[in-house]
Structures are given as C-alpha cells and as structure tokens.
Assembly symmetry: D2
Homo-oligomer: 347 residues x 4
Amino acid sequence: MFNVVVIGATGYVGAEIVRLLQYHPEISISCAVSRSFAGKPYSNIYPNLKKIFDMPLSTVDMDLLCEKADFFITALPHDVSKDIIPKLINEGKRVIDHSALFRFRKRQTYEQWYGTAHGMEDLLENSVYGLPEFYRDNISQAKLVANPGCYPTCAILGIAPLLANKLVYTTNIIIDAASGISGAGRKSDLAYSFCETHENFKAYGITNHRHTPEIEQELSLLTGEDIMISFTPHLLPIKRGILTTSYLNLKDNNLTSDKLYEVYSEYYKNEFFVRVLEPGVFPEIKNVTGSNFIDIGVTVDKRLNRAVIVSAVDNLGKGAAGQAIQCLNLMLGIDEKTGLTQPALYL
Amino acid sequence: MFNVVVIGATGYVGAEIVRLLQYHPEISISCAVSRSFAGKPYSNIYPNLKKIFDMPLSTVDMDLLCEKADFFITALPHDVSKDIIPKLINEGKRVIDHSALFRFRKRQTYEQWYGTAHGMEDLLENSVYGLPEFYRDNISQAKLVANPGCYPTCAILGIAPLLANKLVYTTNIIIDAASGISGAGRKSDLAYSFCETHENFKAYGITNHRHTPEIEQELSLLTGEDIMISFTPHLLPIKRGILTTSYLNLKDNNLTSDKLYEVYSEYYKNEFFVRVLEPGVFPEIKNVTGSNFIDIGVTVDKRLNRAVIVSAVDNLGKGAAGQAIQCLNLMLGIDEKTGLTQPALYL
Amino acid sequence: MFNVVVIGATGYVGAEIVRLLQYHPEISISCAVSRSFAGKPYSNIYPNLKKIFDMPLSTVDMDLLCEKADFFITALPHDVSKDIIPKLINEGKRVIDHSALFRFRKRQTYEQWYGTAHGMEDLLENSVYGLPEFYRDNISQAKLVANPGCYPTCAILGIAPLLANKLVYTTNIIIDAASGISGAGRKSDLAYSFCETHENFKAYGITNHRHTPEIEQELSLLTGEDIMISFTPHLLPIKRGILTTSYLNLKDNNLTSDKLYEVYSEYYKNEFFVRVLEPGVFPEIKNVTGSNFIDIGVTVDKRLNRAVIVSAVDNLGKGAAGQAIQCLNLMLGIDEKTGLTQPALYL
Amino acid sequence: MFNVVVIGATGYVGAEIVRLLQYHPEISISCAVSRSFAGKPYSNIYPNLKKIFDMPLSTVDMDLLCEKADFFITALPHDVSKDIIPKLINEGKRVIDHSALFRFRKRQTYEQWYGTAHGMEDLLENSVYGLPEFYRDNISQAKLVANPGCYPTCAILGIAPLLANKLVYTTNIIIDAASGISGAGRKSDLAYSFCETHENFKAYGITNHRHTPEIEQELSLLTGEDIMISFTPHLLPIKRGILTTSYLNLKDNNLTSDKLYEVYSEYYKNEFFVRVLEPGVFPEIKNVTGSNFIDIGVTVDKRLNRAVIVSAVDNLGKGAAGQAIQCLNLMLGIDEKTGLTQPALYL
C-alpha cells in the first residue's frame, strides 16, 4: 500500500481525487489537507463520503506532512503551490501539481500569460507535463509532474493524430470548447451562482484564455512547428464535463472519415483511456462523466476538405483528478489503469 | 464467480444494474437481455460502457437463458414480468424482480391498485419483499425476491424507527416526496421531455400513486396496525434521486431531536447503508446519487410535538439496482456490501 | 403617468420590478437606486434591458429621492429597510416594502422569529399586509404596505377557502413547499452556486423557517383561531417558482374534489390572478413563471377524508414583484391588473 | 385590428407566436389551428395561457380558415406546409411560413440538402427570405415570407458586417453554434428526453446540418462570392436560446476590437433589435431569452489577425416567432417593433 498526501483536498479537484482514490486498491490517503477546514472530518465537508472517508482534515504543517508520505498531490491556487512545491521537492518528495506553474517549457510563456514572475526555473526544467499518452516514460521517473489543464487534455489528445501524422496544415486551427461549471473551482462567486448560469450559455476568455499557450506548446512540440490556435471556451450549465470541437484543414483531399478513424485507431491503439468512436458516432459528455476516458469522434467535411474533430472528457476526471492518479500509478510503477476503470454514470 | 442474467438490461434500472455490477468482484453478467436491442453490443446503447462492457445483447430465449445462470434479475414492465417469472421459477432459478407483481402480501391489494387480476397466488405467497433491513434472513433463502419500489424504500426506512418504537400515532402520517425523472423509466414520452420538465416542478399521482399501498403494507406489518398514509410524489428536474419529507405526531412530548437521533442510531446500528445524520444535518440528494446509501435526518418540532423526518436515496441505487444487488449478495451468501461501497458523486 | 422610485433595484426582486414596469402603461420609474452600482447604467447590470431601460442607477440620497416620486418600492435587506422606511413615511411618501419588518400584527412575533428588537411600533400599527385578495381596500388607502413573503402568498391563498368556509380542522395542517433558488436573492454564496445546487434537492429551515409565523398569522386572522402549522421549504434546482402541497383534514366526509372545486371557484370568483384548476388538473411551476398568477389544484383523498391542495406562484412574480405592482395599482386607484397580464413563458 | 390565423399553433414555435401576440395591440388571432388538439381550448394545451387565451383550437378546414383572416402564419412540418401554402396563396392570402420550403433562391439547393423534389418553383420565385435587416422592403410587399431558420438568423446577422464591408477573407469561415432543446420542436423523442439531455452536451449534424446552405446562400448574396462555411451545431441542456461563435480571417492587420465595434454599430445603427455590445462585453443567452433581440459581441485576436464574433438569439424569438411577427408588422405597414419590445427575463 502506497501512501499519498492530498493538499487542497476540499476544492473540487481535491474532492475528486479523494473520491477516486476510494476505488484504488494500492493507494491510501495518509493525510488530506485543507487550510479552511482543518480538524473537521472530511465527510462533514463532503457528506457523500460519510462512512467511506471520515478522516479529519490536516493543517499545512510541512514537517508533519513530509513524514506521512513520499507522494503528494497538490490541488491549490497558483500562489499557494508556489510556496509549497519547492519544500516538498527539497525533501525528496515526488509531487503531482495541478497549478499551471510547471506546465510550460519556457518560463517566458508562463510569465507572459500569467502576468507574474516565475522564479523557479530549475524546478521548471525538471518538471514533466503529466499527459501519459505523450510522456509516459518521463512521468514514471519524474520528481515533479505538472498535471495538464482540463481544456488542453481534451483538445490536444483530440487533434494530436492529425498533426503527428502531418495530415493537416498548421494554420487556421480553430478549437471551440465548452466546460461545466466545476472547472471554475469551489468558490462563492456570483458569476457561478445557479441563477446566473442556469438556462444560460456564454463564451469567455475569448482570445486570451490561459489554456491557449498550453495547447500551443504541446502541438508545437509534437510537430516541430510554431503553432498558434484560436481557442474559445464557453460556460455550460452542467456540473462536469468538457467538449471541444476542432477544425483543421486537410492537406490531402482523398481523406475520408473512415480513413481518419483508422489513423486515430492506430495512433491510440495502446491507450486504454482513449476511445476512438466509429465514423458517424460522436462524443457526448454524459458518456465520460465520472470516468477517466476521453472520447473522440472524427469526420471529414468533404465539401471543404476539413477535419472536424469532437472530443470529450470529464474536466474533473481525465481533465484533472483521474489524470493525476493515472500519473501517480506510473510513478508508482503499477498498472496505469489501477483504480481508474469505473465507467461514466450516463445518467 | 457467480453468473447472473439481467433481463430488461437497457432500461434505466437495467443499465444501473449493469453499471454497478462492473464493480462487483464476485458476480459476472453472463447474459444481458433486451428485446429491442438484441444483437447489438451493450455499449452501443450505453456508450459510457465502451471498453468496459461491450457484450452483445441477447434475445428472450428462455431455454438458452436458463443455461446461462442460476440467478436472474428482471427489470421489466409488469405484463412482461408476468410471462417470464413463472418460467424461471419453474426451472429452479432464483429471481429478483423489479415489477410490483410480487410486492404485496395480499393479492387483493395488487388487484385493487393495479386494476388487473393477479393470477399467481402461489408465487406471491413464496416471494419475499426485498428490503434487507427488514427481511434479511428471508431474502437470503428466497426463490423470488420482489425488489421494493423506490419511494417505498425511502419512505419506509425513513420512518420505521418511529413506528417500530411506538413513538408516534399511526394516524395523520403525511409523506411528501419528490423524485428525479429517471424514475419514469427510459421512454419517448412528451411528459418527460427536457422542455416540458426543466425549470418545472409539479405534484402527480395525488392520492392514488401505486407506491402508496406498498408503504402502507410495510408500516402496517411493522406495527400490527392498519396504517393509511397521505403520500404525494412530485417530479423534480433532476435525473436521479428521491427525497421524502414525512410528518408524524409524537405521543410523548418530551422527545427532542437529540433523543430521536439516538433512537435512529440504535435502530440502524448494524445497517451499513443507512446513514443517520446528526441533529441539525439533513439529507441532500447529491450525497446519495450513484450510491446505495439512504441518508436520514430527524427533527422534533417542539411547537407541534411532531417529528419531521427527511430521507434520501438514489432511486436507481438503493431505490432499485443497488438494492437488487444487495439482495443478490444475500442470496449468494456473500457480504451484503460487496461491490456496493462506492460513494455518491456529489458533483 | 405616475412616478415611482425603486430602492434596491439590482437585487432579483428589484430587477423583476424594473422588468415588469416596462409593461406598465401608467407608471414610470423616475429613479432606480443601488448602493453597489450607483452611476452605472441599469443595463450594465442587467444586459437583458439594454435599449429598454438604460437609466443610470442612483445613490441613496434621501432628499433627492424624495423629490423624484410620491411612491416608493423598497426591496432591501431588513436592516437597510429599517433606516429608510421611517424617513420616507415622515416625508409623506407611500411605500411598498419587501422586508419582513412590517408584516406582523404583533411586534412580538417579529422579535421572536427574527431575534431582534423591532422599535417601530407605530409604523407597524399603520402598515397593511399587501395581499390584495385579503386586504384590497386597506391597501388602496395604505401609507405603508408590507409585501408578503413568497411562500406565504402561495400557501395562504392555496388553503384560505378551506379555512374561511370552516371545512377543515385547524390542527394537523401540513404545508410542504419548494422554491427556486432566486428566492435566496442575488448573492455570492457557495450554498447557492451552480455546482452545489444542480441535480440536487434538499429541505431547509425545517421547523423554523421565518415564513411560518406569517402564514400562521394570516390563517389565524382568517379563522379567529390560533393556528399553528408544519411548514417545510425545500430548495429546487430551478431559477424561479414556488409550489406548495398542503394537507388538511376535512370535517364533513361527504366532500368531493368536484365540490371543493366549486367552493374554490366561488371564493375566488372575482380574483383575476387566482386560477382555480378543474378537478384532476394540477399546477406546474412553468405555467406561472414570469406571470402574476397563482394556480391552485384541489383534491379530496376519500380514503383519509383529507384535502390535498397544490398551489404555485412565481416567487418573483405574485410572490414578490408582481404582487407589489398589484398593490401599487390599488394605491394609485387604477385597475389592479394594469401592466400585469402577461402570461408565463411555459418554456 | 388585423386578424391572423396561426396554423400549427401548438408546436413550440406556434405557442410562442400565440404568446407573443398577447402583447400585440393591433393583431388579433382569429383562429389557432391544430390537427391534434382541435376542439380543445388552447389553454388546455398551454395552461400558462389560462384566462389569457382560451380560444378553442380549430381543425384544418381551409375554406373556413380563409374566411377568418387575410394573414396567415404557418408553423408546420415541411410536408404539411407543402399542402397548405399553395392553397392559401391561391386564395390571395399573405403568408409567413416557418418551414424551409421557400427559403432558398435555387430549388436545387433545397432538393440537394432536403433530399426531395420541390415542385413549387413559382411560389419559390416570389417568396421573400424573412430577415427584416436584409429584406425589409421586400417583406413589406411579400405574398409569401419564408421565415429564416434559427441558426441562420443568429449566424448571418452576427457576421454580415464583416462580409458586407469586405473586411474578411471568404474562406476558412467557421461557425460553431449551440442551441436549446426547444429547437427540436415539441415531440416525444427519447433523444430529447430530460434524462438523455440534462448534464449533457454534444455536437450533431456535423458537416451536414440543413441550416448550412441557408447561411451560405445569404452570405454569398451579400458578397457576390460563392461562400462555403463550416457549421457545427451543438445541443445545450437549456430550453431556449442559440449562441454562435464565428471565426473569420481579417484582411487588414490594423483592425482592433474597438474599430470592429464601430463598424458594427454603424452597420446596425437603424436596427432596433440588433444590440452591438461594447468591446469586452459578450452575449449571454439569458439576456435574449423571451425577447426579439440579437446580441452581438466582437473581438479581434491580434495574435492571429482573426475576428471572433459571438452572437445570441432566442431560437423561438428572433430565431422564429418574434421574427415572424416582425415580418408581419412590416406586411401590415405598422411599426416593425409593435408588440415586440418586451425584454428577456434574465432569470
């Protein structure tokens, strides 16, 4: 049994980590940490876990925490991660972090899009972007894993096969996306109140959402070209789930939806959590909600010789907590799927 | 590994049985049966199960099915159950049925509320009402278990301790209830379409809902009195979950909420799936959704010397599929909790 | 054209008053007041009103405001109403207030349920409870109208005919109710965030909700008896609307649903905004949303000789803003229905 | 007072026409026609209109109907429109039709996308596309108006100023869109049931949605070029509303969001129902729901020199019933805004 400490355990990502780890046969939470609720049983905050996980929440006492485990998952605001991660790494701990701090290859990208100095270049250099489908080997050896953003996970995996196989032009890539409201985290904010969001839909972060450079970085690394994309997120009146619809211009005008399906199937043939859907079938958020799967549907628009790709993940699952546990499994040297095979609820 | 056949596997209850059994370490579905979708992979109908449960659906060929398992779960319309159950029992199979056919001690109750002749008195006599908290021993020996209705499960367990302990009068019992829409089953019906139900709420089946006699039967058996209740269900714009709010007049005017909490805790002290909430804490549907738990909150209204009891279940979980598996575990002689300890999603 | 000033114009009740007054041919808003947003165009806060009502919001400058109109509607927190109302009355203004301050005949009731001293007994004595169906004449003459709570409007009108006609016993009255989330007002509160409320349902304020004494007061005045009720509100995952289901024991056991329908139709024969539904038809929230109607459905449970009454209003409509305008019409001496006849949206 | 007959009055578009006409001071519905519900009071089907519009529904007796009015609005399935429209036109009636039959300039476009022969070329030649912002004068004289589709209305008005002013290239136009479920009409269809759509989101009609050629036709006519677009609709778990996000490549790389705002403001300066939002402000569906407005937000992505345009309408309002009444006002020679100035509900 491996021990793990979860810091930031009462946010929505933290809560999903705690929930998912209840299914894990080889990982035990030795400490769940929350500044706001320290001392209270976890199930007071999340009563769904009553009789399942009643452990009292711990304060942020780094010395004590370091005695509790060799593996840490942090799901914290950026400025808090900034204080905590270096200490953990110094103590020789292996960490999966959910902030954006360690996701970028270039410090400058972070500084430009987040508007603040980075100041931890050496950590950055040694961190690994936690997308197992891309960096499985590095993750398994990593000291510090930067868990990808939810939108990037969905968008990158959705179109990677097209770019890796050089089937498309690298300009005019449009990624239109929509997310459930849990993506905004657990907070008291009028903008995310029921009455302001129900029976509503809107775009936000148009042309400047911070997940843009993350997507661009990975697509650029994949192709060796400097890729820029249009990325527009929208806010859905649902709790969980992300769906992205991407448009890319095909080079070869003999490609068909059937052929694309083959390309995708081949590219992901060893990836359990990537489900490529048959031509004519498309992802729906309800099919991934609560699971670690990403569903991808592919089409060629013959009129325009353009690929239209739809992909869906649970923003808290494959888009955050599930992916973190997938990475943790790799770091522990156990089967990547362990504790992660539960299906979506559908209803 | 025990084999089970699920007949009616593509309705919402059937789908939940299939989903829940993915977590079960000792039960294997040897056949999933659906008249409408026979031949198709299960995951074509429920794509959330792609890569998890892709078995093709079977037709209703009784001889073939009988070779496939000793245990059957049926989630069918009443008139279809009527044809199938006798054959299964004749073949020596042990069955958990979700229709109302075998829930009543008296044929007449069924005939009066369902407006049709029963005609299977001997089966009725040997059936057991599948509420483990009441009939655990009988269920473990039963040939035929009548899985309780969703509302009755929530209502009966919610107020049983008051009646069993003779703390309340048996008149003026009011049970006000609300259910998610999956309770109506999977069907094309304008009344359950999104546009007709979203941002809406209504009562239905006022004074004549068919779960009324089921609740009355069990409360009467518990007390030895002839109990009649007011039961009003309402339709919630949610997918899953039932919440009942019950009002009962207390005999003794020294009872407090704290004392009631003690009574309930004692009554359910050995029941894993019943969670009695501390005084001042009340059930919410999100805390039970996807799980097999029932949450119960208790209060005494001192001004009126009346108990107000709130209880919540997932209508597809403890209210149907979860309970069926709990019964099946008992019939198999294995730990009742096996495969059923997953928490609700909360989000 | 009459001028009115709306103070607290950017809360949800205030916003509904502003929206509804766009339909009013004889009332003009001369000032919309908001502490938080003073100076900004109203349609910056509520962009649905762009090109319809762009007036800049005013600060709370009482002298200035008093020059702007003879009629005031206040939709404020109790403690703010406390400061403002006496000044307005002193200046000879006629006021419709939405706080609970002036709803009770007895200061003690307010103090007991709200836990704070009242201190404005003379205002209280001269205030009128703003339920036109009960107090039409008094309202038309009133200096200060206390607009009723949303639940009380729905509950009181729903069962008044039974009590006024002495058809029921005055004990064992149960009122089970559910409200949309806008009833909690416009605020940043985790409890009312989308993720905490969607696909959820719960009871709250069990045995101690502050609308209880308001309902009891009006039922007691109606009957001359001291009536106490069980009242349990629930929180619906919808934006607007209230539905109450009430249970009352009938005295005469010859009453039928048809007869009750006649009693109700007679009682409300002159009330345009009360729609008594034919036997067998029941209210749904979607039929009143956005309107000033209350829909009432009546049934007799012959088995128990108990009346089950379901009523529905829009908590922001007949339960708040619509009713306020209905009162204002009376105070202005114009047709009570003016500007209030728009139907619910249904969709 | 002008009389109008509404045929297909109980579908969602028909119901919205009936609802909106309650606000119209100069139009009276002389007949509401419904095959399914003939003889029943309209408010039996839509109880929100009880006491507002209780007129019994009429059968489809063409002779009788033709005596009832000179103006007709038809909201029918295509194959039913096909039978009825020619008769009405023959009788000299003026008609606004909601089917796609008369929307295309070229018969071939209809036949190609709808897969069936047209067979009414002469009617087609004399029909007018009912977009007042484009064809105001023609509409006012028209015998037969083809009311535009909901998506086309939102998409075309959203990007017309860019194309009309030749600011963008006419290739690589991407229009990503999402609609509420009422767009599918009032029907019993599992795909639109609550449980299958709530907490879900999906794309549909990818590369082949029938509104594509309608958008292409109007953009082509506007520019004199043969424009082809990528159009992907998605299904939102809301009742009403459409939002489109469009991407177009700018020719001139000195354009800014501020400048675009000016261009749009100028283009729509005389259009009451088009609200161009200030730079940095974007449409939300809740701001148009229930109204006849279209809200448009504009941005330039300087990194990519691409315009990102977001527009929103109520699919039943400006996207159908509202627009039909706007056209009808033009045909009647009265102020286009008459009866259409009610704001969205926001909540």
